[in-house]
Symmetry: C2
Subunit: 379 residues, 2 copies
């Protein structure tokens, strides 16, 4: 007899906050979840049926973890894909598929994929080392991106003029034309094995000026229905052209001329979808589980307007985390705190997030500013 | 320095579905949760920082479990209160307080408390044994209730006429006048140490004809605002007169003459509050945590109308649970499945529940009937 979801074991590579929120959803479906994470005190440690402490980039660690599972998925893309290819050959369902994880691990291949598939994206030049970047003064202003290992704002260098070229990465990367965009949008889209595809409404991201991390997020984005429909259609095109099974976050630039360009993609639950836990009929975490476990996808509509505020460790504080201002914040209706279970705070470390609901989207910015001022993660 | 929530350990007596949903909420606040349960495979087994397998009625098991915790709470009231009294003396916060758990463990004391406090309730006679019940033919129709250990419909015997008296319990219990009610309502109310009290809107319960378990629940209840306000005021009066800290479910009869009578109370999250996870601004589980951990209480308003359907094990099936009709059900917008992680199903065992949301409360009954027909728990 075919196994039903409750009889299948889901192995997740990574046991951080995304894994933690996936588990909160998996509980509703009795899914048996195994977690592999390099941190012996990872946020998922006490929440999984089986927690394995191991290196996500180590072939043996990933292979031996995965061979006991029916389905393998990820909450971070920096994992050993060779082991995943072998597991896939041996009949384990690996979603997203290893070749997609491999493609997305290297921003150079990602950009080449957009070009080959006719997916609109910012003009770019591939560079092998610092020397090659130094020759491209004429291409500035641009962003120099490291091909591999960039994450949470690392591996990205803004270059406005020739003087900035000195900051170039001396490793394979790319130079991408700096886009003078009107807004940064994100669309989360999912696809299951039967080919069913569903996208969430577009959201608007406000990045922290210095740290290139999403500071605020607003849903719905303040754009026309036409632009929203175009953005969602583009995200759906990307997941279909990748032939991917799972959840894909598509970050987009809306240029001042109204053009949509794909910036980066992540094949997993994403910071730009955290608000869906409270604000949408299906959360991105449940949708990810539905997609990889072979369930029908959930309806993605908004229940009400929402904002999301990332709780980053305060600059200048490192050590045992203390949350300030929490009581004051959670007294208010429609304020949802999510702490990630990280004992130690560091400057700008993602320690949690807060989702805010309001009947009137116009009230969200003020509420978001106020809550951000109120809650501080110190040590 | 005073410990903040993240530094406090919460011990919960009982690791069933209520403990499981409490943990889903506790994750958002980084609470360290310890669980004590007699079932080595309890639904909470893999979700707590520490899972202890032990008898909830055993003094030593409860005491040794509790002494490492800062706060102790319950998800079932049939626990050893002597150990809780000692833990309370030794400075552990025990919420609800042991004397309240002891009071509620015995339905005879519960009824006496209503009488002494002037809380409206159905007329009753305390009986010590079967012989005493047999003498009360004149008091029928009535319900014979066992004083202790009644749970999920057990320990309750309907007696319409003298012929039914033979079914009397031969143990301390009570005979309660059968109330010819218009509706059965429930109000969940919470209170924290500072004395802050907040009640949830009244809900309407539809019980299974034979098995005395909630089959459907509707929120809001189909009653006037006046009756809702009276019901909530009554629930708030009960928790205040108990001087209780925690969450209290108050089951009420609305008589055909419009009178409200307190039926039974439970000092913990309750089946009649499951819909609050998706339908209210704060869920009953988060509210329970807020109350016992000393946080401000959350706003209790409805986000939208909801119904709740209990998923009981199908009659005639015992063994490894299989969920039928799930795919069909979860395709629909506003259908939330909650499976409780119980491997074995038995006739009428609570295996899970489904919450249904609809913009229009009028559509909920049809949706609830349909979903109930669709999802079957078999073996």
């Amino acid at each position: 007899m075919q196994k039903n979801y409750q009889q299948k074991t889901l192995g997740i590579l990574g046991g951080g906050q995304l894994g933690r929120m996936l588990i909160q959803s998996a509980i509703n479906y009795n899914l048996e979840v195994h977690i592999l994470d390099p941190d012996p005190n990872a946020p998922c440690k006490f929440l999984s049926n089986k927690f394995v402490n191991g290196d996500l980039k180590d072939y043996d660690a990933v292979y031996s973890f995965g061979k006991d599972c029916d389905v393998i998925s990820i909450e971070i893309e920096h994992v050993n894909t060779e082991a995943l290819f072998r597991l896939e050959k041996e009949g384990v369902k690996v979603f997203p598929q290893p070749h997609i994880i491999a493609l997305i691990q290297d921003k150079r291949n990602q950009k080449q994929f957009y070009l080959d598939q006719g997916i609109p994206t910012a003009p770019f030049i591939l560079t092998e080392n610092k020397e090659e970047v130094l020759k491209q003064a004429a291409f500035l202003p641009a962003v120099n991106k490291l091909g591999k290992e960039g994450y949470d704002g690392r591996g990205v260098q803004l270059m406005r003029n020739a003087g900035d070229l000195e900051k170039a990465f001396d490793a394979p990367g790319l130079l991408e034309k700096l886009i003078d965009f009107d807004k940064e949008l994100a669309v989360i889209v999912s696809r299951n094995e039967t080919g069913e595809v569903k996208s969430f409404p577009s959201v608007e991201c406000a990045f922290h000026p210095e740290h290139n991390l999403v500071e605020f997020l607003f849903s719905p984005a303040n754009i026309s229905d036409t632009v929203d429909a175009k953005a969602r259609a583009l995200a759906e095109e990307v997941i279909q052209k990748l032939d991917m099974v799972g959840l894909l976050a598509v970050e987009l630039f809306l240029t001042k001329s109204g053009e949509l360009l794909v910036n980066e993609i992540a094949p997993r639950p994403h910071n730009s979808g955290h608000h869906t836990i409270e604000a949408n009929f299906t959360s991105q975490f449940e949708q990810h589980l539905r997609a990889v476990m072979g369930m029908p996808l959930g309806e993605t509509g908004l229940r009400c307007p929402a904002a999301m505020v990332n709780l980053l460790g305060e600059d200048g504080f490192t050590g045992d985390a203390i949350v300030e201002g929490m009581d004051e914040a959670i007294k208010e209706q429609g304020v949802y705190l999510h702490l990630y279970g990280k004992k130690i705070t560091k400057p700008f470390r993602k320690m949690g997030h807060v989702t805010l609901l309001a009947e009137d989207a116009g009230l969200l910015k003020e509420k978001a500013d106020r809550i951000k001022e109120l809650i501080k993660i110190k040590a």
